[in-house]
């Protein structure tokens, strides 16, 4: 497939939903599974829009909420972070954020979760990606930071939807080596009081949906969904292990993220499982054939934090210039380690256990270090968004990750930018900064 990258073209690279072409216009190797996933997502969105015109319920939810509930009730749902990535990849985030600032919202406020709100405030489907988001009837968020209740309350007001908040209880455990037993022993690892509340909240959500939509929640369907998810995530585990063990790296980070995330938004469906299998088989085939992301691989790097949605072609420069390949990120790694649950007898509680600690697991420094070692990385880049308080991707907590990595001999570079707000991105400056890091901390150390 050859095509020219155009700003605003929904098929431009970098978007987890989109195909990959570098910003220089070169064609890059593409996984068929990722391309198929992008096409599926687009088609799904189109069909959903059509279906919603008949007055069907529709949910806009934050990514760390259990969308399995909606799947079990056949209610379409999209994730705010996915929508943020689409808007950002279309280079529309500056327009929307400027608009929000003009309406009295200060520039320093959080962006990743707020971009859908900024877009909604525009009320201009012609400008919005893919004709804009259909109006949700329900918006859902776990209250994982100071501002989320405010962002979603405003979002609900903009769409005249109902806001259903889920509490975020604070962990008292530090979840040591959680990844070793979470699938089987989640009920021992996660504090019972946290699970109890989330289960009660999910029951309340289900009843609310039943009352307001006339649909009935299917317990049997939830069990089926949970089983499909376990199978799907098992493929991610095998894919992650294959990528980690293969040098040079068989798949670029952009492809890894695209190959994982679109199907993750559809986890629990036969299509999600089929796409994860296809992703694995494709990677396996590439490994067997010796296909690589970068022929000149000299050093492996880790990307910590959310994807750089407004510029995911960013990673390619370092492959071409230094043979420095970003080989892992939270996306495939968390799919591999964090989602599967043995659920016999209690799928709802198992589901709660998947979501109640997802943030803590995703930015757990020992787990990140484990992944770094597994992938044989020689350096890590952490994206730090000053406006987001999440533990690593945000402003608070990444120094502990840096300390743990550096104690293990892995240098870490923090870069300060926002993953969806292109106004804060200076490509030349950040490229120079990462280049210096690779030259001085990664390659120099490797040569020594």
């Amino acid at each position: 497939m050859t095509q020219s990258p155009k700003q605003g073209d929904p098929n431009r690279p970098g978007n987890p939903a989109e195909s990959g072409v570098s910003r220089e216009g070169r064609t890059t190797k593409q996984l068929k599974s990722a391309v198929e996933a992008a096409a599926f997502q687009k088609e799904w969105f189109k069909n959903t829009r059509q279906r919603l015109s008949d007055g069907e319920p529709f949910v806009l939810a934050n990514a760390d909420t259990p969308h399995e509930i909606f799947l079990a009730m056949d209610i379409p749902v999209v994730m705010t972070q996915w929508w943020s990535a689409i808007i950002s990849a279309k280079r529309l985030s500056p327009v929307y954020f400027d608009l929000m600032n003009e309406r009295g919202y200060q520039r320093g406020l959080c962006r990743y979760c707020a971009l859908p709100l900024a877009c909604a405030m525009d009320h201009n489907p012609e400008r919005a990606p893919w004709g804009g988001l259909p109006s949700p009837t329900l918006v859902l968020a776990r209250l994982t930071c100071d501002a989320l209740t405010k962002v979603f309350e405003r979002l609900a007001r903009e769409y005249k939807a109902t806001f259903f908040p889920l509490e975020h209880t604070a962990p008292t455990s530090s979840y040591p080596r959680w990844w070793e037993g979470i699938k089987e022993h989640w009920d021992d690892i996660i504090e019972p009081h946290r699970l109890d509340l989330m289960v009660e909240e999910l029951k309340a959500l289900i009843r609310f949906l039943e009352v307001t939509t006339g649909k009935t929640f299917s317990h049997a369907r939830l069990m089926d969904i949970m089983e499909l998810i376990n199978q799907q995530e098992e493929y991610y585990k095998k894919t992650r292990d294959l990528i980690a063990a293969t040098v040079p790296c068989p798949v670029s980070l952009t492809d890894q993220i695209a190959g994982t995330m679109n199907a993750q938004w559809h986890r629990g469906t036969p299509w999600g499982l089929q796409n994860a299998r296809m992703f694995y088989e494709e990677v396996k085939e590439r490994v067997e054939k010796g296909d690589v992301a970068c022929k000149n691989e000299k050093a492996r790097l880790m990307w910590i934090g959310p994807g750089l949605w407004h510029n995911t072609a960013f990673y390619r420069h370092f492959e071409e210039t230094y043979g420095a390949v970003f080989v892992c990120s939270i996306y495939l790694s968390l799919a591999a380690d964090g989602y599967a649950r043995d659920f016999s007898g209690n799928p709802l509680r198992a589901l709660a256990s998947r979501h109640v600690s997802i943030t803590e697991f995703m930015y757990h420094r020992d787990w990140l270090l484990k992944e770094a070692k597994l992938h044989g990385v020689r350096g890590a880049v952490i994206i730090v968004s000053k406006s987001c308080v999440r533990p690593v991707g945000g402003a608070v907590g990444w120094k502990f990750v840096q300390m743990a990595f550096e104690a293990a001999g892995i240098p870490v570079l923090p870069i300060y930018s926002d993953v969806v707000d292109a106004r804060e991105w200076n490509d030349a400056e950040v490229t120079a900064e990462v280049s210096r890091f690779i030259e001085e901390k990664v390659l120099a150390r490797a040569e020594a």
Partner: protein
């Protein structure tokens, strides 16, 4: 000594009473913010001490673990804890009252694990949540019970219902007396400056409550001097744990008569219901109390701000937002609109430094003076 001067002294030397208590062999339980049931700490026989940051203190130690873009008052607290400024604390209770405060708990826990030689108080996380749902209330009720057990473990004795009722009564009296102080501020013309009020209120969080009540009764019984007729202002935004901003505003010829932050009037809203079971009443009070700028809905925040600003007969409202404390700013556009609809003009200072420089102050002073000139006299005055 003059009661006002005594309270000011305790506000300015916040560790005075706690260190004296400690010297007498008592134990001190520090807490962060105003979402920890301090009544329970008193009932358990401890001295409850609300910790704060210090804009004039450095942040070098904290900077080893945190970035500069982190609520500066909490970063300062971390620094003070790491450098021994709070070495008199035996225990520290950290509530889930904001992202930064919650991180403070995890940072302290992690730092302690990394450096066991570092002397830090024993920690307890009080996981208070912020929606008004019944289910959330039950969760908080369980956390209150858990906290009771923790206090009992720390003290080695049972926390009795009687002791708790007594602590609630003393705390409620303090709240009622502070409400009378608030009336002095809201009198037209005002009888107490915002700078003095902040010290009166703040000292209640670092002194024994009975002693503070005695001082308040003395203070309230004294005659008050009318402050003149400066414009009466309401302050909204970030929590303000020092006098810089109030001194600056009042030096421009205005009086701050009310505010919504938790070092001011909001700290004594909502007495604990003495007719209920004391533990249940505490759980309910901390669950359903007036909304803080973080984690609470915009709708509730707007209603609260407008009601308080109107009740205080404010002629204007000034928003003061600290840098890296962005959650309160999400409320701002709606608060501004609602206040202005009530005829209360607004002025906003965004992303302000915790320690205001002389240049900051000069710039702010100019803006405040210009704005005050635009505020018209109220009808009938």
């Amino acid at each position: 000594m003059d009661p006002l001067e005594t309270m000011k002294r305790h506000y300015q030397r916040r560790d005075l009473a706690a260190r004296a208590w400690k010297e007498r062999g008592g134990k001190v339980v520090g807490y962060v913010g105003d979402e920890v049931p301090e009544e329970m700490i008193r009932a358990a026989g401890f001295f409850p001490f609300r910790i704060s940051g210090d804009p004039w203190d450095g942040t070098e130690e904290a900077d080893r673990y945190t970035e500069p873009f982190y609520d500066p008052s909490v970063r300062s607290m971390l620094n003070m804890l790491l450098t021994g400024r709070y070495d008199f604390l035996d225990f520290l209770v950290v509530p889930h009252s904001s992202d930064a405060v919650l991180r403070l708990y995890y940072h302290l826990r992690d730092i302690q694990q990394m450096d066991s030689a570092l002397k830090l108080p024993d920690l307890h996380l009080f996981d208070i949540l912020h929606t008004r749902f019944w289910m959330t209330g039950l969760y908080i009720r369980d956390r209150v019970r858990e906290f009771k057990k923790k206090l009992e473990a720390w003290s080695g004795k049972e926390l009795s219902k009687e002791a708790l009722s007594q602590a609630i009564a003393v705390g409620n009296e303090n709240k009622n007396l502070l409400m009378k102080v608030s009336d002095l501020r809201e009198a037209d013309p005002s009888l107490l400056s915002g700078v003095d009020a902040l010290q009166v209120i703040g000292s209640s969080m670092v002194m024994p409550k009975e002693e503070h009540n005695t001082l308040l009764r003395q203070f309230l019984s004294e005659g008050k001097r009318v402050l003149g007729d400066p414009p009466m202002l309401f302050v909204e935004g970030s929590s303000i744990d020092n006098l810089q901003f109030y001194e600056l505003v009042e030096s421009c010829g205005a009086t701050i008569v009310a505010e919504s932050h938790d070092w001011g009037n909001r700290s004594f809203d909502d007495p604990v219901d003495p007719t209920l079971d004391p533990l249940e009443a505490i759980a309910e009070r901390y669950h359903l109390r007036s909304p803080s700028p973080r984690m609470h809905s915009i709708g509730r925040r707007v209603a609260y701000t407008v009601e308080r600003a109107v009740r205080a007969k404010s002629r204007g409202a000034i928003f003061f937002f600290l840098e890296w404390d962005s959650a309160p700013a999400w409320d701002y556009p709606d608060q501004k609109k609602a206040l202005e609809e009530k005829g209360i003009p607004t002025l906003c200072f965004e992303t302000q430094k915790y320690l205001l420089s002389d240049a900051d102050k000069t710039q702010m002073k100019t803006k405040i003076k210009q704005w005050l000139e635009t505020i018209s006299r109220p009808c009938g005055k």
